[in-house]
Symmetry: C2
Subunit: 441 residues, 2 copies
C-alpha cells in the first residue's frame, strides 16, 4: 500500500486531544487512566501490542510463548469510544505548530506525551551493534531463540570441532537483572533439557559467560545480594567475569578488555540502554539521550509536551541523575500525569511526581532469586523466588496472560521442561528486520 | 554457515537404518513406534516441530498461539538414543545406491520412508498461486493472521472507501473442512471481537465469502450435514457461493466462473492439495502426484522405499482412487508400517494396511459443528461441537498442548474473546519467505 492511500487524520472531538507516542508501561497506564476523563486519546505505536519486557528473557530461552507476555493495545483500553490507535511511526514533532509529523500526514495535538521508552545502547561500538543480539522487543527475543536453537541443530551436523563449541557457547554482556536472568535460564536449559534433546552433543563443552564491567552483578542492589547471585550462577556453571568490558565482537569471537577471547556465535548485549528520542525537540530539552522534564513530567523549553517513563529525565534533589529506567517508575509517572492533565484542563495546580521505591529483584533459576524490598529488607532463595513470581504475575497485564504464564511456570517447574523449542521463524542475519518503522507501508 | 562446514553423515549402528523424510502425522507415528525395535531412525524435516494441521485455521484467526498446536520433534520421541533428527531438506533420492542426497552430502539407508505429506494445489493457476494465501504450515497461518490484522489497521487509516471494503473483505476458496472452519471462525471474529477493537469501522460492510466448485459444502460428508453447515454459515452472515470456481485473483479482485467479481485483498486458497513429491523415483512409481504403493505401503517399482500418509496412493478394491488425504489414515499407515518393518527384518510376512474409517467432522462456530461417525450416525449442533473438541484434544500430541488448547478454548468460550491479535511478524508480500528449504544454510 502506498503512502498516498493512508492518512493519520482522525476526527475532531469536543474534548482536548492527547497524543501518546508509545504503548509501553508509561503510555498504556496513562491512556487507561485518562480515556474516561473527557480527553480524546490518540495512541501511536509501531507495534499493535504492549510488551511485558521483564519476561522477554523467558521468551528468548523457550520458557514462554511471545503471546503470553504481550497483549493487543486496543484490547487493554476498556473504553474505546474516545481511544484511537494508529499503527504508525512518528517521524518528527513540530512543537511550534503542535503537530506530530508522520509519513502519512500530520496530526494536531493539545497535549503530546512522549512515552517511547528506551533502546539498546552499544556506546558507539558498530561491530558489536552489527553482530550482537539485543533483547528489548519480542521480535528480538524470537530471533535470539531461533539463533540458539539453530546453532544446536548446526552443532549436531558440523564437521569442525572448534566451530561446534563456538555454536554452543553463549556470551552475555551486562550483569544487570536481564543478564543475570538470561544466564540462569540458559544454564537451566543446558542442565535439564538440551542433553535429552541432543544426546549426540556434549553439553559440558557449552560455555555460558556473563561479562560485567563493574566489580559486581546487580549493581543496583545490595552487595550481599550481588554476592548471592554470583555464587548461585557459578554453582550452575556460569562463567562470571567481573571488572571487564567487551571491546569487540565479529560474530565469531568476543574480545574482552582483559585481553581474553571468547569463541561464540551468540553474544547477547544487555549492557546498556538509552532513551528512544523522537526528532524535533530543541537541543536544550535533551540530556543524556533523555528528555529533561520538570517535576510534572513536562518537557523543558517546550509547551504542552510531556515525557514519561524511561525517556524522561527528571532531576531532583534525591535523584541528581534522574530516576532509574524501570517499569514501576514508568507506571507511576503515567498515573500521575493522568491526574495532572485533568488538573491542567480544570485550571487547577498540578502535583509533582513523587518517586515511590518498589524495591528490585532478579531470578536466577529454579528456587533461586534475590529480592530487595524498599524497607531495606533483603533475602534470597526459595522465598525470594516465590515473591519474584508473585510480583511478575501481579504486574503482567490481562487475566488471561497471568493465567497462561502461571500455567507455563507450573508446568516447567513440575517437568523441568521448556515446551517452546520451535524454530518457527528462522533467524538469518540481515534477513529478519528487527525494527520495522512503519509496518503498514 | 556454508555448506562445506555441515554434513548429513550420521554414525553407523548395528541396527538397520530407517530414514524417514517428514515429521507429520505419518512419519512421527512411525518413528515413535519403531525407535525401540532395534532400528536406527534418522528423521529429516525442514522444520524442527510437528504441526497439528487440523487446528491451523485457529492460529490464522488469532484463536490459538502457534506453539499450542506444535511440538518439537525431538521431544516427541521418548527414546532418543536410536533417534537422530536432522533439520534438512532432501534434494533427491538415489534409490539404486540406496542414498538420500542433500546439499550437505549423502546418507545411506536400509529402508527409506517418504512421509512428506501434501502441499497446496493451485491447479496451474500462477496468478492465484502468487497472490493467494495457502494454509498448510504454521508460518503460512501466521502470515495470514498478520495480513488480516494489518488490513484492519490500514482500513482505519485509508482515505479510499472502496479500498476500505477491499481490506475488510475475505474470500475463501474451497468448501471442505478447512474452508468451512475458517469461514465460521472469521464470522465469529467479525461478530464478537472486531467491532469492539475498531469502533471506527462498520463491520456490517465486511464480507466473508466461501466459494465452492461443487453443489455442496463438505463433499465428503452426508448431504444432510452439508446442508446444515451451509445453513449455519449463512445464518452467521457468510456469503456461500456453490457450483462456482475462482478463475483469477490479482491481489485486489477475485474473478469467479459465473462472471461475478469479489473485491478483496485477502483470498485464502483451500481448494486443493497434492502430494509433496521428492525428486528421484521413476515415473512409473508416481500417479496423480502421489507415490503408487502396494498394500504394505511399499512404493512400486523400487526396493526398500515406502510412502505413507497423504503422499501415498494405495489403490484397493474399496478405494479405486486411493485413500482420502487425512490425518487418521496417515497415523494408521505409520503404525502399520512400524509393525511391518519389524516383520520384514525378522523374515516374517508383512500384513496389508486396512483402512479404518474414523468418521469425519467440522466445526462451524460456537456450539456448532457437524459429525459423521463411521457407524453412519450423524449429528450437528452443540453435542457435535463437544465431540469435535474432545476428538481434537485427544489427537493433539503432548499433554501440555492438550492442556493449553483446552484452556484457550475454555477462555474464548467464556469471554467471546480471542487473545492473540498480535502482529509480531508483519506480513509483506515477497518479504516473508514461506517455504525455507534449508533453514540452516
Amino acid at each position: 500500500m502506498s503512502k498516498n492511500e493512508l492518512t493519520i487524520h482522525v476526527p475532531k472531538s469536543d474534548c482536548p486531544r492527547v497524543v501518546i507516542i508509545g504503548g509501553g508501561f508509561a503510555g498504556l497506564r496513562l491512556a487507561q487512566r485518562i480515556v474516561r476523563k473527557n480527553f480524546q486519546v490518540v495512541m501511536l505505536d509501531q507495534h499493535n501490542y504492549h510488551t511485558f519486557q521483564p519476561l522477554l528473557y523467558q521468551v528468548a530461552t523457550a520458557g514462554l510463548e511471545p503471546d503470553s507476555i504481550a497483549g493487543p493495545l486496543r484490547q487493554h483500553i476498556s473504553e474505546r469510544k474516545n481511544f484511537l490507535f494508529r499503527l504508525m511511526k512518528v517521524d518528527r514533532i513540530d512543537h511550534e505548530k503542535k503537530h506530530v509529523v508522520t509519513s502519512v500526514g500530520e496530526l494536531e495535538y493539545d497535549y503530546l506525551v512522549i512515552a517511547t521508552g528506551s533502546k539498546t545502547n552499544y556506546f558507539g561500538n558498530n561491530a558489536i551493534e552489527e553482530n550482537a543480539f539485543p533483547l528489548k522487543k519480542i521480535p528480538q527475543a524470537l530471533n535470539l531463540r531461533s539463533q540458539i536453537l539453530q546453532n544446536f541443530e548446526k552443532a549436531v551436523m558440523t564437521k569442525d570441532l572448534e566451530e561446534r563449541e563456538r555454536l554452543l557457547n553463549v556470551v552475555i554482556v551486562g550483569g544487570g537483572p536481564t543478564g543475570v536472568e538470561l544466564a540462569g535460564a540458559l544454564a537451566e536449559l543446558r542442565g535439564y533439557i538440551l542433553p535429552k534433546d541432543y544426546p549426540e552433543l556434549n553439553f559440558r563443552r557449552m560455555k555460558i559467560s556473563l561479562i560485567e564491567g563493574t566489580k559486581r552483578l546487580l549493581g543496583a542492589m545490595h552487595e550481599r545480594l550481588s554476592a548471592r547471585a554470583e555464587k548461585d550462577l557459578r554453582k550452575m556453571g556460569v562463567n562470571v567475569v567481573l571488572n571487564t568490558f567487551v571491546n569487540g565482537f565479529d560474530g565469531k569471537e568476543a574480545v574482552l578488555s582483559n585481553g581474553m577471547k571468547l569463541e561464540t556465535r551468540t553474544l547477547i548485549w544487555a549492557a546498556g540502554v538509552m532513551g528512544n528520542l523522537v526528532e524535533g525537540l530543541p537541543e536544550e530539552s535533551i540530556a543524556h539521550s533523555r528528555y529533561l522534564v520538570d517535576e510534572f513530567n513536562e518537557v523543558k523549553h517546550v509547551k504542552d509536551v510531556f515525557a514519561i517513563g524511561d525517556v524522561a529525565l527528571m532531576v531532583t534533589g534525591d535523584m541528581p541523575k534522574g530516576h532509574p529506567m524501570m517499569a514501576p517508575i514508568a507506571i507511576q509517572q503515567g498515573e500521575q500525569l493522568a491526574k495532572n492533565l485533568v488538573c491542567r484542563e480544570a485550571g487547577k495546580p498540578m502535583k509533582p511526581y513523587e518517586y515511590w521505591d518498589k524495591g528490585s529483584m532478579a531470578t536466577i533459576g529454579r528456587n533461586k532469586a534475590v529480592v530487595q524490598m524498599p524497607s531495606g529488607l533483603r533475602f534470597g532463595g526459595v522465598f525470594a523466588w516465590f515473591v519474584w513470581m508473585f510480583v511478575h504475575l501481579l504486574y503482567i497485564i490481562g487475566f488471561k496472560n497471568k493465567f497462561v504464564v502461571f500455567a507455563n511456570w507450573f508446568w516447567n517447574y513440575l517437568t523441568y521442561d521448556r515446551g517452546n523449542r520451535l524454530i518457527i521463524r528462522r533467524y538469518k542475519k540481515d534477513e529478519n528486520v528487527q525494527d520495522i518503522d512503519n509496518p503498514l507501508l
